[in-house]
């Protein structure tokens, strides 16, 4: 079961709505160890993504993901804007020329996204950032795809690992991003970006199967 361009658009729209619904939670997480804007930044950005998805005229999954990237880069701002923007841009670039997505393509795209985030943000696993959700997600997706899982199962594996990875940020002391200014006092809190990554992947997994 592949994922068509249409399925991808629908899944991204659904994922955008999930993020928008979690605005207040993400604001609150960021208020505790940051500057209280992550949820508002993503609400602004993913509201624009919904409009972008309304556009149409897609030439394939790559074009959709690049449009999402451009939208996020020009509307989110903050750290998350360029990081998520780069993630979607690299994921799109990794899928250039494909008409639809299979599981290995999903894993490839996620790996490219992670590489983009690492290149831009220079965080390492354990720094208490979105990298701590995305890294295990990529590994889980690659393992699932290698074992022959379909797109939805691959994304579900990624989402599960992202949720665990996000939860595991709680005890960490932040070394990157705004929470790092708190030093030891950043421990004991969930990283907002790891949480939003987990939300996005879970929503994509739930909706990537299309209307089926």
């Amino acid at each position: 079961m592949g994922c068509s361009t249409e399925d991808l658009v629908a899944a991204l729209r659904a994922a955008a709505e999930v993020v928008i619904d979690h605005r207040d939670e993400l604001v609150e997480l960021d208020r505790l160890i940051g500057d209280a804007d992550h949820g508002e930044n993503l609400r602004r950005g993913f509201t624009a993504v919904v409009s972008t998805m309304d556009g149409g005229g897609w030439s394939g999954p790559a074009s959709v993901l690049k449009a999402v990237a451009k939208t996020l880069i020009s509307t989110v701002g903050g750290a998350a804007g360029p990081l998520y923007g780069t993630a979607f841009l690299r994921a799109g670039a990794a899928l250039d020329g494909r008409a639809e997505l299979d599981a290995p393509a999903v894993a490839t795209a996620l790996r490219a996204a992670l590489d983009g985030v690492l290149a831009r943000g220079k965080a390492e696993p354990g720094d208490k950032t979105m990298v701590d959700a995305l890294t295990p997600a990529v590994q889980a997706a690659e393992a699932a795809a290698a074992q022959g899982a379909d797109v939805v199962a691959t994304l579900s594996a990624a989402a599960g690992a992202a949720a665990d990875g996000a939860a595991a940020t709680v005890p960490l002391v932040a070394r990157k991003g705004r929470a790092s200014y708190l030093g030891e006092r950043s421990a004991g809190h969930l990283d907002p970006g790891a949480r939003s990554t987990s939300l996005l992947l879970t929503a994509l997994a739930t909706h990537a199967g299309g209307a089926r």
């Binding site: 940051g34 020009s74 701002g77």
Partner: protein, 333 residues
Amino acid sequence: MKKIINDPADVVSEALRGMALAHADLLTVRQDPAVIHRDDAPVQGKVALVSGGGSGHEPLHGGFVGPGMLDAAVPGPVFTSPTPDGVQAAIEAVHGGAGVLLIVKNYTGDVLNFETAAEFAAIEGTEVRTVVVDDDVAVKDSLYTAGRRGVAGTVLVEKIVGAAAQRGDDLDACEALARKVVGGTRTLGVALAAGTVPHAGQPGFTLAEDELELGIGIHGEPGRARLPMEPADALVRRLVDAVTEDLPYTAGDEVLLLTNGMGGTPQIELYLAHGIAAELLAARGITVRRHLVGSYVTSLEMQGMSLTLLKLDDELVDLWDAPVRTAALRWGM
């Protein structure tokens, strides 16, 4: 949350509207993307200075746009770095053929968004350099962290490099000067009460009547330590100690002393703190050659202050004294 605002989502655009009306003789203010620039931009042959960052730090940066200081400021949403398109629009509006220097406060978001804009501008053939301001001694610098924050010292960088650009220094010289100023600037801040981000509705942190938060930044994020409230003499000494020990500033040094209010602290307290700081510095043999006291780099209505020192030499003094005409800092013109 009590503020003189309408919808929290419109705070920045509505404030920019008021700013545009109040300074129509000096500034051009654009929305979508938001850019504030000199109304006579681009100034041909002059290095253009562009800064920006999240809003909520007023008068930084828009209040420092004008002859002798910034050519443009790019205001993001409250406490959120602007996106690259705003920075690109600013660069295009003010580039006068002699290159553009971006003055960026050191936050991951600001650095990444300005960096992206700089890449685009380079592709278009515009020479762009970036200087990152990181004057906050509250944050321990290291290769493995986000590094020090850019806070109140930013205004000093903008003024001094603005004067150099105005007198005709080229892009290399402006960049080198900016790095020199950043290198000689250190700041530490303290909060008595946090401000509230309009879209969050709750203060960044809550302090009891007898608590203060030391080492705060300018985004309502908590600081490094919560301490018992103390008299101004002890509190200012704490700030002076930490700032002077950091660079360090020592006997014989000449400095500029900036006592900066965080937005909700009145001028009478800032003057009081400034007097204490100046006397403590004098007692260490450090000469305060230039003074600035006021709320220049704020954190919404946060109550508190920061102290900034900048090591001076005759060149920096001349550039500091050079005429400037902006909404918030003005002399000689």
